[in-house]
Symmetry: C2
Subunit: 95 residues, 2 copies
DNA sequence: ATAAATAAGTTTACAATATAAACCAAATTA
DNA sequence: TAATTTGGTTTATATTGTAAACTTATTTAT
């Protein structure tokens, strides 16, 4: 009947992060922060969770002299997102 | 950019309850329990929250001698659900 | 008749989660 | 060189979700 919803994706902020990365493929921490309106702390924690799950990967580079945290989706992340959307359908579609 | 997701609806079990009531218009506690696979306790709590929010209303009747808890959607509930689905789009649609 | 089992929930205690405040380090600006 | 800004991380707290324990009434079995 109802397909289970991946708890890692069923979170407003994490879903927003994933959504950004689905279209952008690559995004910097401050950009994600701005687009989602999240606090840096919250964002940092949620990025960690997505990273631990293998849904995104984080590359710490530099932009000139300033540190630059780059996030991008992994193939698993993309698949998990697609599955999540598919699962959501079972809740949203009128039977 | 991203529309906020009503925290009351952004919960797997509560969303499932609402989803059932959208199509069924009226459902008994045990039926919802069976369809969602939730424990009675959890279901009771979540039904309470939806009731407090005015999203559903609960009528306690009898079926023969046994108590019978009937749930149905309120107009506000229906509207909230529709708005939630609309908000979700901002996360799911590829930009 | 009465004991055991089932039905229909509710209460409550605990676990998991989310979030912002506090903190840290480096770089820039005054 | 002191203050401010940038770019985060850690951590303490508040919120939320969940199942176990409990309650009350009803069948069913003995």
């Amino acid at each position: 009947m109802f397909q289970p919803l991946d708890p890692l994706l069923h979170s407003e902020l994490r879903l927003a992060i994933m959504s950004l990365l689905i279209s952008a493929d690559e995004a910097e921490f401050p950009y994600i922060k701005e687009q989602t309106g999240a606090t840096a702390g919250n964002l940092s924690v949620q990025i960690d969770k997505l990273t631990t799950a293998g849904y995104i990967e984080v590359e710490k580079t530099f932009k000139g002299r300033r540190p630059c945290t780059l996030c991008r989706l992994t193939p698993q992340g993309r698949q998990a997102f697609e599955q999540y959307v598919e699962a959501l359908r079972s809740y949203l579609e009128v039977k």
